[in-house]
Amino acid sequence: MDNIAGKKSGLTWAVHLATLLLVLLWLFPTVGLLVSSFRTADQISSSGWWASLFPTERNVVMRAADPDDFRVADDDLFVVSGNLFDEDPTVSVATISVWGTSSREISQYTAGETADLGDGATITVQANGDYEWRGPDGEISGRGQRVFATIEAAPEFTLANYEQVLLSGNSTDSMAKAFFNTLTVTIPATIIPIVVAAFAAYALAWMEFPGRALLIAAVVGLLVVPLQLALIPLLKLHLGIGIGKGYLGVWLAHTGFGLPLAIYLLRNYMVGLPRDIIECAKVDGATDFQIFTKIILPLSFPALASFAIFQFLWTWNDLLVAKVFLIDATGETTVMTNQIVELLGTRGGNWEILATAAFVSIAVPLVVFFAMQRYLVRGLLAGSVK
């Protein structure tokens, strides 16, 4: 509609470009973290992650192998041969473009050329790093010949960070335990409020009783009560009745905090179900309990899924509730968000650990997000556009 009367091409291009720009801007931060999690500590601290996507050109100094150990006799000359990159563990896959034998002329020769070192000694360096250093006894001795080279290194990525963070890391770095702890918090905290809320939502949607409107209004009001208010009273309550800090406490807390949204979403959805079905069932003698379990619950699946995703994302990503109700002084029950905050404090400079740990915690919600986006959007629309 926007593109009537000859304005089409210019504006359409602008729209495409602007959208692309916006998407890239929004994607860029996450990609940075993802790329960083596949780089080694050295790589991360020596160049920005964006540089790692392209072959990098840099100047290095390398040395031929020690002639005292490696030289072999060839007629009256001695030869040391091998690959320059073998001597330098920081470079693995690279190509030499130009090289030199003195720091003043580092681009004197191109790959494959032979340099005259004087006194009958020569060295030949190939693009892949192979060299042959040849000369009389007196020259092929002492330390290995230095080679100054400009190399082009291909992008290089490693899974070592994930191995360290998930499998072998020491207890402060390890995310494996925190991952399972998070899972342990999340699943009951997602399922239990759904059951409790579904019954209440049915009552609020389809049963007639005095005070119903008031209760619905109360749920809408509780929807926005900041959970900050609940921290101290509930912690006192939990400590008082013996639950203390632990999984039971955090499950109960998440259930309580998730209920208003659950009831609100489910009720709004259930109210929209066709009245005929329910009345027919009633005429046929079905009880409310039967109507609920056999008719309403299956029909409400989209709303149940919406809320389940919300609650899952919320409990998985939560830090505050876990810190207050779950994590005790031993730290045995730490969740991933808390683990990452602690890593930020203790290993603030170790980006390879931080990025990997963060990505481990982000990965599951992202999978859920992309798999169930439809329900998430539907839930959002039901929750706020009314």
Partner: protein, 333 residues
């Protein structure tokens, strides 16, 4: 006991318990208390139907009351008492102490900044993204990608943006993109962005804007699609240009939704804790109310002042609460 097994048992007990409760209580009501037979069958059915809603509602009401309604009252009471004096009533002393702290006013000032900037920019970017992606072929893909940060935790986002804001000494290669760009554009010295008072607040806000824009976009995009085509066609016939159509025809028609988005993001902002906690922990003048409260409650163990600041957050939320309830009631009529 292994927590995973404990979790499994809890699921079974929780879900099973709920279902058993609902089933058995309904059975009890119908078969024992008010059986639908005998002389008073009709009266009994009516009575049972009067009680049944409350059976369905009870667990939810109990949990809501205990976990949300009771804490509001209890926090209010705690804010008027002093823990060190054994919980004695001290009137408004906690509030007086809080109001005399500069850190509190810093948190208030920052929260107000957040309240203005984040909802405004998130809604604006969301509206822009919704309009841009509305009529292009790869719009849904673009939407997904802009919406994606919604799934990322505040803590994860904090790590992501800490990498962006990272600063290295001038003689080293910059690994934070912001400093790389800053130096590329002629900056002389790498900046520690998060330690520059006042402006660092905005660097923290960017994180939340990044997360919330997708939410705003999804809702506003649905609203834009709901606009009647005739109004736009009429505007085109009258010779309106695309910008006039957007600002004079479309935006006024979705004003209600914009307000809803704005207030929803406002609620998130009022409770913002994780981002500040993970990125600066309130240092360098970036304190916000929720983090101030956490500091008071769990570091200073001052439950009185902590509760008082929680009540301040509640008071700031109250207008939105009232407005929401008012709208919900209006709809139900």
């Amino acid at each position: 006991m292994n927590p995973a097994i404990q979790g499994l048992i809890t699921i079974v007990l929780g879900v099973g318990g709920c279902i058993a409760y609902f089933y058995l209580s309904n059975q009890f009501l119908d078969k024992v208390l008010f059986p639908a037979r005998g002389a008073n069958a009709g009266r009994n059915i009516n009575r049972a139907n009067m009680i049944r809603p409350w059976l369905f509602l009870f667990p939810a009401l109990f949990a809501l009351g205990l976990y949300l309604a009771y804490p509001v009252v209890e926090t209010l009471r705690l804010s008027l008492t002093d823990r060190d004096q054994g919980g004695a009533f001290v009137g408004l002393a906690n509030y007086q102490q809080m109001f005399s702290e500069t850190k509190f006013w810093e948190a208030m000032r920052n929260n107000m900044l957040w309240l203005i900037v984040v909802p405004a920019l998130s809604t604006a970017f969301g509206l822009l993204a919704a309009q841009l992606t509305d009529r292009i072929r790869w719009g849904n893909l673009a939407k997904s990608l802009i919406f994606m940060p919604m799934a990322i935790s505040f803590v994860g986002a904090a790590v992501i943006f800490k990498l962006i804001y990272d600063a290295r000494p001038i003689d080293q290669e910059q690994i934070g993109i912001l400093n790389a760009i800053y130096l590329g554009l002629g900056g002389t010295e790498p900046q520690q962005w998060l330690t520059i008072p006042f402006w660092n607040n905005f660097f923290l806000m960017i994180v939340l804007i990044w997360i919330q824009t997708g939410f705003a976009m999804v809702i506003l995009s649905a609203a834009l699609r709901g606009i009647p085509e005739e109004t736009i066609e009429a505007a085109i016939v009258d010779g309106a240009n695309p910008f006039q159509i957007f600002f004079k025809i479309k935006v006024p028609q979705i004003m209600g939704t914009i307000v809803v988005v704005w207030t929803t993001i406002t609620l998130v902002v009022l409770k913002i804790f994780d981002i500040v906690f993970a990125m600066t922990n309130g240092q360098w003048e970036t304190q916000v109310l929720a983090n101030y409260m956490y500091d008071k409650l769990f570091r200073a163990s001052d439950w009185g002042v902590g509760s008082a600041s929680a009540i301040v957050i509640m008071l700031l939320v109250t207008p939105i609460l009232v407005w929401n309830v008012y709208n919900a009631r209006k709809e139900m009529r």
